[in-house]
Symmetry: C2
Subunit: 224 residues, 2 copies
């Protein structure tokens, strides 16, 4: 999966969230492309053509992306490129959006009144027009209030969002995790290697339990 | 009604639609403010404070305003101004949007899949957060394919959108039209004045018919 992440953040260097996500993107070899106000339209179009999955990643400013992304869209996504040449058709488009608001605020009757899916409609409409396959959005609420283990879980979910077929099944996620662990074991040495092998064995044991449980549930369903 | 029209069009001078609307705005003494990339945040906030009705007027580029408006929003609509000082609270916000697409394309199942009301949600969410009263949007579809009389009717509807309470009742629209006509008669001379007075008499006659019709309908309803 060739994933291109277009990061639209006016103060990227000072964003802890974006620096954190960047490490995750690098580990899965996704193409991390911070947007600046100075870009070349032809170069951007070449990058887009080479990608299979395109991610627009940004903090929510007044319920949409910062102006830097809109300027890029208005100039790079020409009618010629998008409509006549069908330069984006058949690729995937995902939105990674960070907000300082808690998730439950985005619903009718709550503070923000609308869901994020509703607020992101303009991007969905663009995907629709461009022949892009629209992925479920990856929403990060209040990153700075998350515990370290929540942030680690987020990083794994983010890496899976960048690389796995979307929406990913539970089995695909498990398989992905096992692969990552194998790679870590290969690269590790000494005591760390021993620890990681132990983790792997425990996961395998749990995996067996899980398979048995699943089988039992299927049998029970079959009896109905 | 102090109406401030913020016009966000990257090529304003070459837009026939915007030049046409401008004449309408001037006739009702609305404040026509074309956006440039160079603006002063404090000055913009002073203008906003002075307005009673704020209009964001733009062509739809990729299902939202051109980047020039987003840049302005991101910089002028600071948390301090909008949330702490409540600088916009109690005012009205209306969107005047032009598109090259026909109206019926904006619905589920049609080419664009979403209604314009859905696509404009980010602005509605902003209005909600800022304490702005959200007006029904004024949508102009395919201006250049309209006949001259359609364009004239549009101009009147636009002027009413800028000045009348929204949504305006039929009676308010009629009253507005009568006032405009009176003003034209006052300013006219010679044969033109005679013609305008004739129009006024015809309208008054129609008005009497209309009142009778309305009264009859009310009576019929009362009989049920």
């Amino acid at each position: 999966m060739r994933t291109l992440i277009i990061v639209a953040h006016p103060e990227l260097a000072s964003s802890g969230t974006q620096q954190f996500l960047r490490r995750g993107a690098e580990l899965v070899a996704a193409d991390w492309q911070p947007l600046s106000t100075d870009f070349n339209v032809a170069t951007e179009q070449v990058k887009l053509r080479a990608a299979e999955r395109i991610i627009w990643q940004f903090p929510l400013y007044w319920y949409s992306a910062p102006a830097i992304l809109k300027a890029w869209q208005d100039q790079v996504l020409t009618s010629k490129f998008v409509l006549h040449e069908q330069g984006l058709a058949g690729k995937e488009l995902g939105i990674v959006v960070t907000t300082d608001t808690k998730a439950s605020d985005y619903q009718s009757g709550a503070v923000e009144q609308f869901t994020l899916a509703e607020l992101l409609r303009p991007y969905q409409a663009l995907a629709n027009k461009a022949g892009l396959h629209w992925l479920p959005s990856f929403v990060i609420n209040q990153f700075r209030y998350q515990t370290e283990s929540q942030q680690q879980a987020l990083l794994i979910a983010y890496q899976q969002y960048l690389t796995l077929p979307q929406p990913a099944t539970f089995t695909q996620r498990q398989h992905w995790f096992a692969q990552q662990l194998q790679q870590m074991i290969t690269n590790a040495t000494g005591e760390r290697k021993t620890q990681l092998v132990l983790v792997e064995q425990q996961l395998a044991a749990k995996q067996d339990e899980l398979e048995e449980l699943r089988w039992t549930i299927e049998q029970m369903r079959g009896d109905d």
